[in-house]
Subunit: 616 residues, 2 copies
């Protein structure tokens, strides 16, 4: 029997278990994993910048940009084209000597904690679960918006949590909520701290003690059910650990946002997250079967997770996008999938963004797309080229030159119009081959030229290391951020053009330094539309408040996005950054419902993050 | 270009449109359809039984069961095996002379309407939009539970709507809500009236005027966007009309519940419905992009529908499963899909239910399943055979005998253990062929024998005509109903066994007549589990209150389902029928949240259907 299954080349690890169990009345064969992943010293995260402490951008001895450390594919390699390219695009004098030295940490507000409250906490938390350290408190008072990152280095955050705690189980979370209610304290749950909506930012007028509830120690995978393809995971579990642990059991949750190294399951639910491979696995709302939450009124939970059900008003749905305003998510039951038999990268070049876009449209409508498909515009394509390491010389150099010659001279691609599409295929061999056949056929229809797996893989790996660039450049007078939207197909191209045009015009009109960097990519496709992801950056030397200038321009871009038919956000969320736009997209009744709901479910505004204007 | 697209055999009607529009800044090419489908006289529905007036089961002159009318494949054909089979299975004397004549309508409560309220309505509704007719009011006060259907023929419904109105646009719906608030009237939205949860049943202690808001005239498809694959449809549009109208535009919504002939878009959302082809298109929560609702606080609406977004608390999600308790859904934006290139039926026989079940499990885990796949147990397989029309003699007769011989004697299938799996494939030719290859391979692994497209098609068509059987049999002392659940794979077989065993034991223990008919089928598969659909019926002659006996036994079955790990419902919902179980599946906090939410969003309980215990 076993041979017969392997003959078809399909993963059959489950078969052996179900023949025994599927007809029995025993509970499903569930693997209980209670041990949290070991905390490794080489996994320490920075407090003042994005990412792991072992990695940061720097200038090499030769004055080239380089990524310090050994963690990423790009680490340790000089990137000689990058600096010249930045100087050219931004028309500015970025160089190693032109430094804006960060003064991290700028002043950290003094904590405000009543003695009685601390006593109450100490009744059920051990000393190592309570943190008064200033830099730790500071870190828990911000995410990664440009304004927050600028604040902690050059200005100041006016209010941060007064205390940080690390609960280790649901009982403690319940006790925390009770104590917060008893002592009129505001609770803000903390996951990976990677939001880009000011979701963690504290209200400067918040007079109550603010307690940051850091969920990182509630990071266990409680059980994995390989037969029913579900797993129960605590909300503080971080993406990279979830992936690694589930992989040991031959499964994956399939959710890989760009922040997967640091963001948590609770954060994904609270922000209604989207992952790179949603084409294959779905977005967070498709992946989560059940959510347990500790609320101001007690625990929101269900007896068991169902494949799908109709049980009336489903309040668990409310947790998606709740951004910490309704309670503390403690665990969730999620779908899991077999690890794919095959994972392959790919890439395709297109003569223009329009061509690539039409390719994406046809792909979404006619075929099963790969797990991930992304299309960058020409500027971002150049950005990617600028981040290519020095060739090792010899054959590699020659290969690169030959490729370039072929693409531009033989195929006639214009280097200032061409774009790249990167792909990740996952599935059975048969599935992947069909996806590749369909994709290649559709790509050829639009003048696409296959550019190989290496370029695809590089493109995806780049995403993780690029995240470190913003903080580096900030010290050299460059401020930058990303923002995104979702939009119907027929509005998307115009939306991209409008945003680029508007930002460029407004930038010039204000007489700001050099030229802005504005670029877009299509990061997700649906039959009904796309997610468009923008990078926007500029040289800020000479501007007294660059973070305010940035915010003003970002708001102008958002205005243009909304006018062009785009949404407020595809996946980043609202937080405080975009709360002012809610009346533009929702009727007054909808807004009132939200306020009423918040008031009724959290009358004291115990969950006082204040996101989406839900201040209680 | 056009030839090239057809060469690949793919539907390309969209291509021509987007080359012009996709790069323009114009709004998407949207087809506006404002004319509602014409009301046809041959589409009249019965008031006292399920379905179209032109169709009902009957006894022929020969004493055989027959379906009157010409609407269905099975219509007009004698079904000679059916009566004998029923007599054998139920061990009862069902025959044309053994009648329990229905006394429909049993007493209809007098209406209670204040003059001022009627005056207020007449200000904005024309006379033909206001209905005081007794039988119409009665119809609007029930769905299709066995108890309701028994009541209107043999006992009585103690409370029904006092008045029925037919709004023709959102403005009128808003005015209705305002008038209801001003005059303290309870509103109950009405779609197809096909629910099976007592969702429309009125609270006998409701002292306020109850106004049934029948949405049937708000049935327009407002627009179809073929480029972005969306459509905007009014909530009163009925499934069969939605399908027919969208088909004219080459698209489908892909949602086909068994009630599709009569149920409405608003009803689907309000009950969190599931459709037969969810494998390909998704369930209602996957299909709906936006919902507009008139609430007690005004209109819940958004500026535009996004492919997917993260905009904080999403109150539209609350409408799924709201069962009329939070407002009146007026329209929704839904996904649409190209009509499939290929639609094929199929069927497979398995030696036992266990074999078929393991086949379903492997199918869900290893392959892309067909659009629909259902597995019936042996008893339901026999039920299907009993509903086969008399062969036309000659070759057809011989073919049938040969088939039977082959299956039982050659292949060794035991007629009292064998089961059937029916299939619907939809997609491109390539997709369908791959699905069929995979399915056949997996079926063979479990002893499956292909039984052809005809048997598959017959199985599906049977579903629509079987719906009429229950009301027919009720007049011959047989009471029957369906109920369903969702459950993880590893609990499913035991759940089926437990429910069958428990019902059979309880039935015998109570000394009830003959034997009960209890049968199960797997109607939906997920990687994480299945939907199990039960039929349960018995002979009730001699029982004074058969509907109460039925209810008691159904509750016992539900208890067994919950104990066996099943959910409260996969798709039928909660209504009033299962409200008592909510505390068993949700924490007290969850229940409290629901009550708080209802109170805050509808403080006067204007939407007074009272489902899920949300009485305000």
């Amino acid at each position: 029997m076993d041979l017969a299954y392997r003959f078809f080349g399909i993963e059959h690890r489950r078969i052996l278990s179900y023949f025994r169990d599927l007809t029995s009345t025993k509970a499903s064969k569930v693997i209980n994993l209670e041990t949290p992943p070991a905390q490794r010293t080489d996994e320490e995260e920075s407090l003042d910048v994005w990412g792991f402490r072992d990695t940061h951008f720097d200038f090499s001895e030769n004055g080239h940009v380089i990524i310090r450390g050994t963690r990423y594919e790009l680490s340790g390699k000089e990137l000689p084209r990058f600096l010249p390219w930045v100087r050219e695009v931004l028309e500015c004098d970025v160089n190693p000597r032109n430094v804006n030295p960060p003064r991290y940490p700028t002043s950290i507000p003094e904590p405000y904690i009543k003695r009685e409250f601390l006593d109450a906490l100490q009744k059920f938390l051990s000393p190592n679960q309570i943190d008064t350290n200033g830099e730790i408190r500071l870190r828990h008072g911000h995410g990664h918006t440009q304004e927050e990152m600028y604040s902690i280095k050059y200005t100041r955050l006016g209010r941060v949590p007064d205390l940080v705690v690390y609960p280790e189980g649901e009982t403690q979370v319940t006790a925390l909520v009770e104590a917060a209610k008893a002592h009129n304290v505001a609770l803000i749950p903390y996951g990976g701290g990677t939001n880009v909506t000011d979701a963690l930012r504290c209200n400067e007028s918040e007079h109550r003690t603010i307690l940051s509830v850091d969920m990182r120690r509630m990071n266990r995978i409680l059980w994995v059910d390989r037969e029913n393809m579900m797993a129960c995971i605590e909300s503080g579990a971080v993406g990279r650990h979830i992936m690694a642990e589930l992989k040991k059991h031959g499964v994956t949750m399939g959710h890989e946002p760009d922040s997967v190294e640091f963001s948590t399951l609770g954060g994904w639910i609270a922000t209604n997250a989207s992952g790179m491979k949603k084409n294959r696995y779905g977005n967070i709302e498709d992946l989560v079967l059940d959510v347990s939450v500790v609320t101001a009124a007690g625990k929101l939970e269900r007896t068991s997770a169902s494949p799908r059900e109709s049980v009336g008003l489903d309040l668990r749905r409310l947790m998606f996008g709740s951004e910490g305003t309704l309670g503390i998510i403690t665990s969730a039951v999620v779908k899991v999938f077999p690890l794919p038999e095959v994972q392959e990268y790919g890439s395709v070049l297109f003569p223009t963004f329009d061509d690539g876009f039409k390719f994406m449209y046809d792909l979404a409508g006619e075929a099963t797309p790969p797990a991930s498909v992304r299309l960058v515009d020409n500027l971002q394509f150049q950005f990617g080229l600028a981040l290519k390491p020095k060739s090792s010389g010899g054959l590699a150099d020659l290969k690169s030159k030959v490729e370039k010659f072929f693409v531009t001279k033989i195929k006639g691609f214009d280097p200032y119009k061409m774009v790249a599409c990167t792909l990740v295929f996952e599935g059975t061999r048969a599935e992947v081959e069909q996806q590749q056949r369909d994709l290649n056929r559709i790509a050829a229809r639009h003048g696409g030229m296959k550019a190989g797996a290496d370029n695809g893989r590089r493109g995806y790996q780049l995403t993780y290391s690029i995240a470190y660039i913003r903080d580096f450049l900030m010290s050299y007078f460059i401020i930058a951020e990303s923002f995104e939207t979702s939009v119907a197909w027929t509005n998307a191209l115009a939306l991209c053009d409008n945003v680029k045009r508007r930002l460029t015009e407004e930038y010039a009109r204000r007489g700001l330094p050099g030229k802005p960097f504005v670029t877009a990519r299509v990061t997700q496709i649906y039959r009904t539309g796309v997610c468009i992801y923008f990078y926007f950056g500029f040289y800020y030397k000479g501007l007294p408040n660059p973070q305010d200038v940035y915010l003003e321009l970002e708001n102008i871009a958002r205005d243009e996005i909304l006018k062009s038919g785009g949404s407020l956000s595809h996946h980043h969320g609202v937080g405080k950054l975009r709360r002012a736009y809610l009346p533009r997209i929702m009727s007054e009744t909808a807004l009132q419902w939200k306020r009423e709901l918040k008031k009724s479910l959290d009358p004291m505004n115990t969950f006082g993050a204040g996101n989406q204007g839900l201040d209680g």
